[in-house]
């Protein structure tokens, strides 16, 4: 796997990167306590050009601190960090031309002006050649279905439309890497689907490297071949998503509506009924396994009315995984020291 990216294997490169904050905490009416917090604690990884990586972890684990160091907003307290060969904290503006950033809940678009006006500003601010700008705008607007909305003031856009608008703004200058912080948060199912489809295409067709943080496990499942899990500032896992499911030993839930109230379904192990409420039954099965055989079996043997699969919550997966890793002192990260 490492060999495959031999030429460009270290497009993003972190070597024992640290970020230490001094936090003043109020402990009483006038008393304050000074505490040293390691928001990022000796993290090392590399991302090859063209990879699409999910960066996940509980709130406050150090995800956004890492992103802020990668984009040059924050200066690391220690270690070595390079993006496209550039030290982000030293050459922030030079790096800005090569990266795109989308902050999920903070729009960079002009609230009272038509979408197109914001793009014109990007055109000039990033000094994008005219032909290139026009080409990119046409392509992005078509892919993200924003054609009819270019003349609409941003304040009149829905959350999903605004997010797509922000993604266009971040990509007009052909960044080689795109950072997305919670790109699907608060979006409806249709918008989520559009954003994901677009990101997949961007990565596959255009070779753009993508690093995203998310709370939505489906984002990761549908987009990322590789995930990194961070907790308490440390890299706890780095590998394929299936590995995450195995390590996290997480389960999906199959909700089955039967024609009538029946005794618990006798499902093939390891699937098992975890709850019964009238004609509705809940079955837990390993998240990594396919639901198809289980569904086929139940459909054959029981009077089935309806069914649905519930994805495991990402926080639950991470929590479970971190719990199972709790005893080992050496996190099983495949590439943590690559």
């Amino acid at each position: 796997m490492k060999g495959a990216f031999a030429v460009d294997s270290a497009f993003i490169e972190l070597d024992r990167v640290e970020k230490v904050f001094d936090v003043h905490r109020k402990t009483g009416f006038m008393r304050r306590e000074l505490r040293r917090v390691r928001a990022v604690d000796s993290i090392s990884f590399t991302v090859a050009r063209g990879e699409m990586v999910g960066y996940i972890g509980p709130n406050g684990a150090g995800k956004s601190t890492t992103i802020k160091m990668l984009t040059g907003i924050l200066t690391p307290s220690g270690g070595r960090l390079r993006v496209a060969g550039i030290d982000p904290s030293r050459e922030r503006t030079r790096l800005a031309h090569r990266i795109g950033v989308v902050f999920g809940q903070r729009t960079t678009l002009w609230w009272d002006l038509p979408l197109l006006d914001s793009y014109r500003l990007m055109h000039r601010m990033y000094r994008i050649p005219d032909a290139r700008y026009r080409e990119n705008l046409d392509r992005l607007v078509e892919l993200l279905e924003l054609g009819d909305l270019l003349d609409v003031p941003v304040r009149q856009l829905s959350l999903g439309q605004r997010m797509r608008g922000d993604i266009v703004a971040a990509l007009l200058h052909d960044p080689e890497v795109l950072y997305l912080d919670e790109p699907t948060i608060g979006l409806d199912v249709v918008s989520k689907g559009k954003v994901r489809e677009f990101l997949r295409e961007l990565n596959a067709e255009h070779g753009t490297t993508v690093l995203l943080t998310t709370h939505d496990l489906q984002d990761i499942e549908q987009l990322c071949s590789r995930v990194m899990v961070i907790d308490h500032g440390r890299l706890m896992y780095d590998g394929p998503l299936t590995g995450l499911h195995e390590v996290g030993d997480s389960e999906r839930i199959l909700v089955v509506d039967l024609e009538r109230e029946l005794p618990p379904i006798e499902a093939p192990a390891p699937a098992r009924v975890v709850k019964v409420d009238g004609p509705r039954q809940w079955l837990a099965f390993p998240a990594a396994a396919s639901a198809a055989p289980l569904v086929a079996r139940i459909a054959a043997e029981y009077p089935l009315v309806d069914l649905s699969v519930r994805e495991p919550d990402i926080e639950a997966v991470i929590a479970k995984m971190l719990h199972s890793l709790g005893d080992t002192t050496d996190p099983p990260s495949e590439r943590a020291t690559a």
Binding site: K19, F21, D22, A39, T65, K68, T71, G72, I73, L74, T75, S77, S89, R92, T93, R94, A96, H97, R98, I99, V101, F103, R106, T108, W110, W111, D112, L113, D117, L121, R124, M125, Y126, R127, P129, R132, P153, H173, D174, E176, A204, E205, H206, G207
Partner: protein, 291 residues
């Protein structure tokens, strides 16, 4: 398709690197111009509100001068200065401050941008943060204050008794530009302080709004220590007091010699340099603490 995209992307990347190496000052001014233009267009989306707030800004500052007029309805002189002479000081202070407020006044919102995290969105763009921040929320309505200052200055020039020389005539625009630059420096320094104390935005009001109020009255009114402080420590006196007393033919504050009246450009340059250093220190502290 992927191949062509990448090859083209690489050439473009070289271009980008060349582009990114242009001067920071030029880059900053360019970004400032582009962002202010956006805000002006944005303001024009609510034209009625814009007219009303501009007018409000004008009236607010006009009432401030009405207070001076009320005082002179009861007295003929204040601290040895007549109404036209005070109007001269007032007009200079108000115009210089108004110009600074128009140019970089939004920097006082920095603390809020730090608190809600939106400063980060400026930091990932290829332009100096200072320029982006100064242009942020650019409010053309602040022209109301400039207008008031210019009108008061016009009234003063029409009524005041000045022995005009070429040096004094030349000093007028120099005074306004230097004064505005000094106030700009105060705004930037105040914003830099907000990197450290985000909630303390109001402190800078004491130096900005407080400063212009102080300078609207003659230096003879104030305690010597205070005048010394605003001459040698925070050199606001060079906005108008020092050069304007020279133009008016009044004694310069603190017995300063006549040539001190021609120092404002130098003082302004020094102030801007110091404010720039303060800004860099503030930004560096933000980038190391993230708060």
């Amino acid at each position: 398709m992927a191949e062509t995209g990448r090859v083209a992307g690489r050439d473009w990347a070289v271009e980008k690197d060349l582009g990114a190496r242009s001067s920071r000052v030029v880059d900053g001014l360019r970004a400032y111009r582009m962002i202010t233009a956006m805000w002006i267009r944005s303001t024009m989306a609510y034209r009625a509100s814009f007219l009303m707030t501009t007018f409000g800004n004008f009236v607010a500052t006009a009432l401030d001068f009405v207070a001076v007029l009320l005082m002179f309805s009861r007295v003929d002189e204040l601290g040895g200065y007549t109404l036209p002479q005070i109007a001269f000081l007032y007009g200079l202070s108000s115009t210089a401050f108004g110009l600074a407020d128009l140019a970089v006044g939004s920097m006082e919102k920095l603390g809020r941008r730090v608190r809600d995290g939106t400063l980060d969105t400026l930091m990932v763009r290829p332009a100096p943060v200072l320029a982006q921040m100064a242009a942020d929320q650019f409010g053309l309505r602040r022209l109301g204050r400039v207008t008031q200052g210019v009108l008061v200055l016009g009234y003063a020039l029409a009524t005041v008794d000045i022995d005009w020389t070429w040096a004094k005539v030349l000093l007028m625009p120099v005074m306004l530009v230097s004064g505005a630059a000094i106030f700009c420096a105060v705004f930037v320094a105040g914003a830099s302080f907000q990197f450290v104390a985000q909630d303390a935005a109001e402190v800078q009001n004491a130096f900005t709004y407080g400063g212009t109020t102080l300078l609207q009255y003659p230096p003879t009114l104030f305690a010597t220590e205070l005048v010394r402080g605003v001459t040698f420590v925070l050199p606001l006196a060079f906005v108008n007091w020092v050069p304007a007393t020279y133009v008016l033919g009044m004694p310069l504050p603190l017995g300063l010699p006549g040539w001190a009246a021609f120092l404002p450009p130098l003082v302004a340059a020094a102030c801007c340099a110091l404010a720039g250093l303060a800004w860099r220190a503030g930004l560096r502290s933000y980038r190391s603490t993230g708060s």
